[in-house]
């Protein structure tokens, strides 16, 4: 069988490309929603973690240790086949909840590290100049935190996309599952998996492109201000 014939069987025959697109959609959907909710929850957990009150920061510490230290597949299976086994929640929803919890732990630590890296003296100076606490945070600390956190956050996004490849264990047909199914049907695992990897790589580059675009926009904004 020639390479063209193999590629035809993998990608085209019987509407295979539509199945791949459906799988890709599932992967992107889970990643985007998990990132959104995970970031919000992560910011909240970070707030608790940085609190001076032990009643807040100890539970936040435990949450971060537990979630960052446990494999995401185990967590997903525990949620789907254990915690939510008797609920009517869809598998996709449970996957989003699980990945959001996991991402939140990583984002919380990432934000804490970024905030710690900023110079507190600048906030004090802003307060002396009459800025409120919120203004000082929004106008002085936050822009620096975003700049510091951005590269690691980008890695977290790419990691998240890769972590979602285990959702086949909870009955979701994502990109990895579709690729495995095609490989089993066509008996061409090597080529099919290379195609799957290229699609994941393309997703990673889309993420990279989005971050590069935001950099470009913010740089233009700064240039205009100057």
């Amino acid at each position: 069988m020639s390479l063209n014939e193999i590629l035809y069987r993998i990608l085209i025959q019987g509407g295979s490309y539509l199945t791949i697109l459906k799988g890709l959609r599932a992967t992107v959907e889970i990643s985007v929603f998990s990132l959104f909710f995970g970031t919000l929850l992560g910011a909240f957990v970070c707030g608790l973690r940085m609190s001076r009150l032990k009643i807040f920061n100890i539970p936040a510490k435990i949450y971060i240790i537990l979630l960052r230290g446990s494999p995401v597949l185990m967590l997903l299976m525990l949620m789907y086949y254990g915690v939510f086994a008797r609920s009517s929640l869809e598998a996709n929803t449970i996957a989003i909840v699980t990945f959001s919890l996991n991402v939140a732990a990583h984002v919380a630590e990432l934000l804490r590290a970024s905030i710690s890296a900023t110079d507190f003296g600048q906030v004090e100076a802003a307060r002396t100049l009459g800025f409120s606490a919120f203004q000082a945070f929004r106008l002085v600390t936050l822009p620096q935190v975003i700049q510091i956190a951005k590269p690691v956050y980008q890695s977290t996004v790419v990691n998240l996309i890769q972590w979602t490849s285990v959702v086949g264990y909870v009955s979701i047909t994502d990109l990895t599952r579709v690729i495995n199914n095609i490989a089993s049907r066509t008996m061409q695992p090597m080529i099919t998996i290379i195609i799957g990897m290229l699609i994941y790589l393309a997703l990673a580059y889309v993420v990279h492109g989005i971050f590069a675009l935001t950099d470009m926009i913010s740089n233009r904004g700064k240039e205009k201000e100057v």
Binding site: M1, Q13, G14, G15, S16, L18, T19, K22, M77, Y80, Y81, G82, A85, R86, G168, Y169, V170, S171, T173, R177, V178, N180, N181, I182, A183, S184, R185, T186, M187, Q188, P189, M190, T192, I193
Partner: protein, 297 residues
């Protein structure tokens, strides 16, 4: 001169000793079992199939799915993969670079549906339906369509009949055991098992919902109540107790039986030139048929 001869003698002795001690390792790939470890399986395997040569060591490696095992064979991580004859035929029909090197006969192998132990009622219903489908030759007809020439044709996925207001049975499929269980190009589950399920649904007048999951999550899906039925539990029909079936799982009567396991090898051009294939010399097995001798593919 004496010293030189002594050194040569010692070197020759060392080479000879190490050559004699060196064991040849044959690695065989199998699809993961549900409740049996590689070590337990190897123990049973050694008792049944003793290697002819004392210097031969057999290592069994489990793989969660067929793709992983195929890739392991491609990169020489294993020497052979062992599959039920129907899947082996499918692989050979789809990819001509695979060849059977050996066929092992093992009486009474079967595939059965698995249920949670609490779901005895459904198990009884499935058994009743299977008995009816066997007696009216429906199962034989489906075997002819799906298993007689696996991989040569791909039958269209089954359209399940909808019974208005009827109970729904959720069934886990994996897509990892063609032509019994695979996912068609359009993403719908297909294969012999789905055809059998369609007939069971029709007989019981119940709706069937297929859920695609990883093979490794079958038992968790069943015991957690996420699905009602799992198909393709491999069983030994000659045994009362099934060692590979986890606790809390009960089985239907077999819906398909077979008696041959095929060793598949990847034939590479360089292998054809230099090695030749005679894996039957590796084993002293109770009942071996070499497919090439019988003329079968």
């Amino acid at each position: 001169m004496k010293k030189f001869l002594s050194v040569v003698l010692v070197l020759l002795l060392m080479a000879g000793t190490s050559y004699g001690l060196e064991k040849k390792v044959i690695k065989l790939g199998l699809l993961s079992k549900l409740n049996t470890t590689e070590e337990q399986f190897m123990e049973t395997w050694r008792k049944t199939f003793a290697p002819k040569n004392e210097n031969l060591e057999i290592v069994i490696k489990f793989y969660d799915n067929l793709n992983a095992m195929q890739m392991a064979l491609n990169v020489n991580d294993i020497n052979e993969m062992i599959l039920p004859d129907f899947t082996a035929d499918y692989v050979m029909n789809m990819d001509k670079s695979y060849r059977s090197s050996l066929v092992l006969r093992s009486k009474g192998m079967g595939l059965a549906f698995g249920f949670s132990a609490e779901n005895k009622h459904l198990q009884m219903q499935f058994n009743e339906a299977l008995t009816a489908l066997i007696s009216d030759w429906t199962l034989s007809a489906l075997e002819g369509i799906y298993i007689a020439s696996p991989g040569m044709t791909e039958p269209e996925p089954i359209e399940f009949r909808n019974f208005e207001g009827a109970e729904e049975i959720r069934i886990a499929v994996t897509g990892d055991l063609p032509p019994i269980d695979y996912i068609a190009a359009d993403g719908r589950p297909a294969g012999f098992s789905t055809a059998v399920l369609s007939e069971i649904g029709r007989y019981l007048k119940k709706n069937i919902k297929l859920i695609n999951i990883e093979a490794g999550a079958r038992t968790a899906a069943l015991t957690s109540g996420r699905v009602d039925v799992v198909f393709w539990y491999e069983i030994d029909t000659t045994k009362e107790v099934q060692p590979d079936v986890p606790e809390g799982i009960i089985l239907s009567q077999p819906y398909y039986e077979w008696d041959r396991f095929v060793h598949l090898v990847k034939v590479r051009d360089e292998d054809k030139k230099t090695k030749g294939w005679d894996p039957s010399s590796w084993w002293s097995v109770r009942d071996v048929i070499n497919l090439h001798d019988t003329g079968a593919q």
